[in-house]
């Protein structure tokens, strides 16, 4: 058995803001939620969605996540759906 703390690969189904398609984004379980948001944004921002100078907010299971906790602490598991929004668009959808 590996230690529980060993970082795991967590592949996610992700959508960034008003992008047109869900994408595959793999992160590590010890990444922070803020890093997760940026990892998703990397594939979309400035590519299909105009980059905006605003903080990003991450949603999981309809809940807004604290950006400082880790993916594991947030209870995000493999194949879960993650939505990222700019902070002024952060009404729950």
């Amino acid at each position: 058995m590996t230690a529980a703390a060993e970082p795991q690969l967590v592949p996610l189904n992700a959508i960034f803001a008003e992008d047109f398609v869900q994408i595959l984004v793999p992160v590590m379980s010890n990444n922070t939620v803020a890093e997760l948001g940026e990892a998703i944004a990397h594939h979309v921002e400035g590519r299909r969605v105009p980059k905006r100078d605003l903080p990003k907010v991450v949603f999981h299971d309809g809940k807004r996540l604290d950006p400082s906790i880790t993916v594991a602490e947030a209870g995000i598991g493999p194949l879960d759906h993650i939505r990222v929004e700019y902070s002024d668009d952060s009404r729950e959808i």
């Binding site: 992008d19 869900q22 595959l24 100078d53």
Partner: protein, 505 residues
């Protein structure tokens, strides 16, 4: 006239059923092959086709069709007709050659299955003509596609596409294996001849021929509209089958039609939609994809099923809304992931194109315009790496197409929403509620890994873009790219003013 009329003797060709006694009926017509279900076995004795044909008529008529199709080919062979076609239109044909040709071959297997396991002799005979027809379609398309292999290696995918694990191949194999071969023959007759061939193939083979002719592709227009004359005949196997099924098991009849309709609608949004609304040059578009769908599917097909006493499918609202979104999003997906294609997808979002799109689809600018603007600016700036993918689009566990359906929410905003389903501890994602519901009902058959699932299971190595393209069978000479990015030129000026995003815009 000393030859007897067909009406005088054809009943004897049709009466070829007998009572088996050396082996069990159930052994010769096993339930999962023949699929009588709740329909009493003897009810199939009433099966009778409307569109009658005899063998001598068949070979005479088909020979005429073949002569005229190949004559057009011969007349154009040494002209420069192909060279003068736009790259956009050529892409419509490459998509057709790769995406359709071997489907015709699989339809041969479907017809042969009905010719063996069909529950009435007339039906089995009609399916023999169907099998011949489908050989014709595969062969004429292979022959025409092969002509261009020397000019452009992408035409090699006429024969090759379905032998690869390209995501389009996986998606279409999944759809057509179920629709054409792995179902029982009663369901096949309703899925393939009735739903697919009297509905959707008209869109690809008749409606698209209008765009082909406008685009100057006489050969292709001629080939596909000639193919559809066969479909018009053998598709008539569906009606009598449906009539009997509706009488004894209307719930099953409705479900089988609904499922086949939905799968076809998804596939055609990916293949026919972009060909009609983007690849066909704007000045040659005869009607929009939506208008063709209204002419051929919504009016004609729905009238047909209501005629049989069935209802519009349960997903009707979701499908109708999708007419304004599905194919636009799939077009953007095809373009963004263009290295995974065997054609050269033109984005076709010049100002003229967008005027046309806005006119045909009033929400187009709002849902897709802003994303194309970002892409356009990247192209004009020369930031090409930003226009190419570094990951995979999420693929729907049902239709195996990208999950890219935007819907309008209560907050009046267009968003792609998730349709998840947890089953045996695994989370599956679907593009739409329709796909999720069909998968759930057919989960034992259709539970099949998408390219994403295969990637995550480590089946695709190395786990990067190169590994994925290799897995999909793409070679550098075939990989798709935009033909010239010329549509971006209209917007060169706006780069002078940096774009300042406005909050809430």
């Amino acid at each position: 006239m000393t030859l007897l009329k067909r009406e005088e003797w054809q009943h004897l060709v049709r009466e070829v059923d007998w009572t088996l006694s050396y082996v069990d009926d159930e052994a010769v017509y096993p339930e999962w092959m023949s699929g009588t279900g709740k329909v009493p076995r003897e009810a199939w004795a009433k099966w009778e086709e409307d569109y009658k044909v005899s063998y001598p008529e068949y070979v005479a008529t088909q020979r005429e069709k073949e002569s005229s199709a190949y004559a057009v080919k011969a007349a154009l062979q040494r002209s420069t007709a192909w060279e003068n076609l736009s790259e956009g239109w050529k892409s419509s044909t490459k998509m057709h050659f790769g995406g359709v040709t071997l489907v015709e071959s699989e339809a041969v297997l479907a017809e042969l299955k009905m010719a063996r396991f069909g529950l009435n002799g007339s039906w089995r005979n009609m399916a023999v003509f169907g099998a011949l027809d489908e050989i014709r379609h595969a062969q004429i398309t292979l022959f025409f596609g092969h002509e261009f292999v020397g000019k452009d290696p992408q035409y090699d995918w006429t024969q090759k596409m379905f032998h690869t694990n390209d995501w389009v191949a996986v998606s279409l194999r999944n759809l057509f294996d179920g629709m054409m071969v792995t179902s029982n023959v009663v369901d096949i007759a309703i899925q393939l001849p009735l739903t697919f061939e009297t509905g959707f193939t008209n869109l690809q083979f008749v409606a698209l021929s209008a765009d082909a002719l406008e685009s100057g592709d006489v050969n292709f227009a001629n080939m596909i509209s000639s193919i559809q004359t066969d479909e018009a005949r053998h598709a008539q196997q569906g009606g009598p089958t449906l009539e009997i099924l509706v009488e004894h098991d209307p719930v099953r009849a409705q479900w089988v039609i609904d499922k086949a309709f939905w799968g076809s609608a998804r596939a055609f949004a990916a293949l026919t939609g972009p060909a009609m609304d983007y690849y066909t040059p704007v000045e040659h578009r005869k009607q929009s994809y939506r208008e063709f769908m209204e002419e051929w599917i919504i009016d004609q097909f729905v009238r047909t099923i209501e005629d049989y006493g069935l209802k519009k499918p349960w997903f009707w609202d979701e499908f109708m809304k999708g007419l304004d979104t599905w194919h636009h999003a799939l077009h953007m997906g095809l373009w963004y992931w263009r290295p995974t294609l065997w054609w050269k997808p033109t984005a076709a979002v010049s100002k003229d194109d967008r005027d046309w799109l806005r006119e045909k689809y009033p929400n187009w600018e709002k849902v897709y315009g802003d994303k194309w603007d970002v892409i356009i600016d990247n192209v004009n700036r020369g930031d090409m790496e930003l226009t190419l993918p570094e990951t995979l689009p999420w693929l729907c566990s049902m239709c195996h197409l990208p999950c890219c359906v935007a819907t309008l929410g209560y907050d009046n905003r267009w968003r792609v929403r998730d349709y998840p389903l947890k089953h045996n501890g695994v989370t599956y994602h679907f593009c739409t509620a329709g796909c999720r519901q069909i998968w759930w009902k057919d989960r034992d058959n259709l539970n099949h890994p998408t390219v994403i699932d295969r990637f995550l299971a480590g089946e695709i190595q190395p786990m990067d873009v190169g590994g994925i393209l290799g897995y999909m069978g793409l070679t550098p000479d075939v990989m798709g790219d935009d033909p010239d990015y010329s549509w971006a030129a209209d917007y060169k000026d706006r780069l002078i003013v940096p774009r300042v995003p406005v909050a809430g815009a």
